[in-house]
């Protein structure tokens, strides 16, 4: 499927390849910079976790992967992602053993950080992006069926988005795989290939359970599409096909673990660890921000907190997903993906700052329709992870990729230049109707300056974080400030994108 899409794209326009090549080059360049936990024993960081999973899956039998044994100490980076990640690690481990067995030597390879090994690890992420994320981005861009300029722009936004670059190729993770599968699923749905989309999303879900943030929109869209069929027979048939694809995918992935019920339970326990707290590090969501003034963690039990999170999340998920169920268009799907992910991020339990990527990708996919707000959200999402990036010594990479992204997008679309915005025809979403004549552009008057102001705020925060040490009473002052600042942004975007989805804006108030 992917190869066919690539071939078709190649025949269309070689500039797509140039954009993809540029994305690869930036990924390689970011990978030159430090990774998480570099030279920080005893636990190191996510880089060591991924290496450890290659070691565990390569040396131990499958039954022991998620089980606490003498050879597999779950307290030292035990596997906590679904089986597809484990299979991926197994594959990488097999290659690693061929290259140099010391990379995955049981126990002996802990904390390994030699240049050759680092080259190998960085290469695995690059290959994963080359095989999954980049083709998915291309597929999605082409599936939008817009003009070449729009296709190129969307492709560039997806491929150059700094947040994903920095986390995957700097901090070190494989978000490109799960997010890529999600983007591919969306692309499939855009092309009316519902069963394929369902299968792809199931794969994404089986790679990282965080994709549950996106599960409800996909479910509502598919259900809504089924209910919209002309006859009952068609509806049931479609539902059956989608159901079969999903069940088959899940079954294939979990097959080795379904052999023994105990194994499945062990995986489940690792995937959803409720004994952890409401949040770990400072994160830009509602509960962490609330905790600044009202100490939620201290005043309520874990069970009470869990139910609070569940109820608020469920409450805010309902509007956008019910709308999607009633009106299952691809545009609504993308908006629901964004709104649902943002809801989970803001109100859910055990949220990490990296989870903002799950909201950022749908925003990137919506770039052609809402260029300015999408750009703003993408920048805010990247910069909200500043505390994490600063801890990893990735400040230089952050600045370089963020500035690159902003200038590149602005060069291509003129989204920040008032003069060029007025001159170029506006990209309209299918929800708003056109009303002739050149559009007056209130966005430039307040939105663009607001964006610059917001970026300045982040720059100031970054600068102070690096140069000034926090006062003794508040050692976490800078991360807390960044989180609060980002929460303000995300709350604003939460409201804004909900208003857009519910068509609150008419032609007089132009969406940006």
């Amino acid at each position: 499927m992917v190869i066919i899409a690539v071939q078709r794209a190649l025949k269309m326009d070689s500039r797509y390849l140039l954009v993809l090549g540029l994305g690869l080059l930036l990924r390689w360049a970011v990978s030159l910079h430090p990774h998480s936990g570099q030279r920080k024993p005893p636990m190191f960081g996510d880089y060591e976790a991924q290496r450890h999973w290659m070691e565990v899956t390569h040396n131990l039998p499958l039954a022991d992967w998620y089980r606490n044994t003498t050879d597999n100490d779950l307290l030292y980076w035990g596997l906590d992602y679904p089986p597809l990640t484990a299979y991926h690690s197994y594959l990488c481990g097999a290659v690693a053993a061929r290259v140099d067995p010391s990379f995955v030597a049981l126990h002996a390879s802990r904390g390994l950080e030699t240049p050759e090994h680092r080259l190998f690890m960085r290469a695995t992420v690059l290959v994963a992006d080359l095989l999954v994320f980049l083709p998915a981005a291309l597929w999605f861009a082409v599936a939008l069926r817009r003009s070449r300029a729009v296709t190129l722009t969307v492709l560039a936004v997806l491929v150059l988005y700094p947040g994903l670059l920095l986390i995957d190729h700097g901090h070190f993770q494989y978000n490109g795989v799960s997010l890529g599968l999600m983007v591919a699923a969306a692309a499939a749905l855009l092309g009316r290939r519902d069963a394929t989309g369902a299968a792809l999303f199931s794969l994404a879900l089986n790679y990282k359970q965080m994709e549950l943030y996106h599960a409800l929109p996909f479910f509502c869209y598919l259900l809504g599409t089924c209910l919209r069929q002309r006859t009952w027979a068609a509806s049931v048939g479609k539902l059956a096909k989608i159901g079969a694809a999903t069940v088959l995918t899940f079954g294939l992935v979990w097959l080795p673990f379904l052999v023994d019920a105990q194994r499945a339970v062990e995986v489940g326990a690792r995937l959803f660890p409720f004994n952890r707290g409401l949040f770990e590090d400072k994160v830009a969501n509602f509960w962490c921000s609330l905790s600044v003034v009202y100490k939620v963690k201290q005043l309520h039990s874990v069970a009470a907190i869990a139910s609070m999170c569940l109820s608020t999340t469920a409450l805010f998920l309902l509007p956008t997903n019910l709308l999607l169920l009633a009106d299952p268009t691809p545009h609504n799907l993308l908006l629901s993906l964004l709104n649902s992910a943002l809801t989970f991020f803001l109100f859910s339990f055990q949220v990490h700052e990296k989870s903002i990527l799950l909201a950022a990708l749908p925003a990137a996919m919506l770039f052609p329709d809402y260029p300015l707000s999408s750009l703003w959200f993408l920048l805010a999402s990247t910069l909200s992870m500043l505390p994490l990036l600063l801890k990893d010594d990735l400040l230089l990479a952050t600045v370089a990729t963020t500035v690159f992204f902003t200038v590149a997008v602005n060069m291509a679309t003129g989204v920040l230049d008032a003069g060029r915005r007025a001159a170029a025809p506006k990209q309209r979403s299918r929800l708003t109707t056109t009303s002739g004549g050149p559009p007056a552009d209130p966005c430039s008057r307040w939105a663009v300056p607001a964006l610059y102001l917001s970026l300045t705020g982040y720059a100031v925060l970054a600068l102070t974080s690096v140069t000034v040490s926090p006062p003794e009473r508040y050692p976490d002052l800078w991360p807390v400030l960044v989180s609060l600042y980002s929460f303000a942004h995300f709350a604003g975007f939460f409201l804004y994108y909900h208003l857009i989805q519910f068509q609150f804006f008419d032609e007089k108030f132009k969406v940006c």
């Binding site: 070689s14 500039r15 390849l17 140039l18 090549g21 540029l22 690869l24 080059l25 930036l26 390689w28 360049a29 970011v30 030159l32 910079h33 240049p115 080259l119 690059l126 230089l396 990479a397 600045v399 370089a400 990729t401 500035v403 690159f404 200038v407 590149a408 602005n410 060069m411 291509a412 003129g414 060029r420």
Partner: protein, 506 residues
Amino acid sequence: MDSIYEVFILTSCLKLLLIPAYRSTDFEVHRNWLAITHSLPLEQWYTESTSEWTLDYPPLFAWFEYCLSQLAAFFDPRMLEVQNLNYASPATILFQRLTVIASDFVLLVGVKKCADTVPGQGTYLTSPRVRLAALTLGSAGLIMVDHIHFQYNGLLIGLLLISYAHMTQGRFLKSAFFFTVLLNMKHIFLYLAPAYFVFLLRNYCVTIPAGGWLPRPQLANTAKLGLVVLGVFGLSLAPFAALGQLPQLVSRLFPFKRGLCHAYWAPNLWVFYNLADKLAVFGARRLGVSVPGSAAASMTGGLVQDVEHALLPAVRPAATFALSAAAMLPALVTLWRRPADAAAFLRALVQCALCSFLLGWHVHEKAVLLAVVPLAVLALRSGPEARLYLLLSAAAHVSLGPLLFGGREAPARLLLAGLHAGYAAQALPAAAGPPSRAYTGYLAGLAAVAVYDVIGHRALGLDGRWPFLPLLVTSLYCAVGVVCCWLALYWHMLFRVEGGQKIKVR
């Protein structure tokens, strides 16, 4: 904001990301020069030899390093200690990398001035200005050599472009001034001096009335020109002449003890000569003829060493000079016969650079950039030259790949060269008719050679045997491309080109 500045920001961001990349010994070379110019008095600059990387650029570059060293003190004063060999603290690396990125601003100025000479419309993103800026500021070769390997070619080529831009507007004195400054920063540009000499002579120092042939000297102009040139040389060399160090300076700047070929075999005509010699040795051994001396040693070792030819006659520096000069003659004659033609001048500059690259003594493969980067200006104006540029730049970038030693930079070598070629293919004007099969075949072969050099040799299991083979193949294949472009440029220059852009002579 002018779109050229946006391209500068984009390329600078990419260069910032490259700060942790591979550094060659050139990094230590420049650190040493920072230390020498900062810590030692003037009289010791060209006599100092604690480090093996002695100062071998002309004085104005030494002054440039001196200015940089004043800023270096704020980053890490320890890098300025002469004894501190191979010192490379994070602050040192950051500082030196930042100086290269910042000095590319001179290249930006040069490109900006030249961009006005390139005609054409286009949207914001595809205007000729942006395309020229992308091909020069974002040149794969400059990124690989300046921002990874470590050098200051962007700064120097920027000065060259500024000089050329002034020439296109008839500001002969300013152009000569900038070129003389350039000469006193890196003397390799002496190879371009003949073109300047001929052009200035023909268009500024003498006039030939239309229809006649007898040149009439313009004494005032000549005097002014002489003043400018001698003035700059004087400023640069006078302190050392006063100290009686001129012979020492000359010996440092022109070290002819080095061999005919740099260790990596720049893709020039001597590659074929060396190969012929090696084959002759091989054949002689087969035939049982005795081969004198130790010339059987591999010449692609990796160190700078004297190359001895076993059977073919040894080549001396004087011979290479004579050959380069002879090769340049047709270009210079053509330049004389096209008065006030700025495009012809640039073509002659490029051709001089190519001739000296192909036939010079101890040529570095980096020297090919002197021809490739300015050619972009011409490539934006005509289809045939665009096609020439594509081939030349592709061959040059692949030949520069081996400079980035080690496996980590392998993706960058392929991606940079590929992206540059891909962008040039779709951004430059198209020539009439599709390219010949040989052309596309050569380009495909280039890609194969690049991949072979990066990974193919090792993948085929030949890593232990014939370790020199990838370099040899790369040099040979790229040399073929460069030679073909050189000949094609001559053909184009001598037989195809009609009148170019006339200078507005004041």
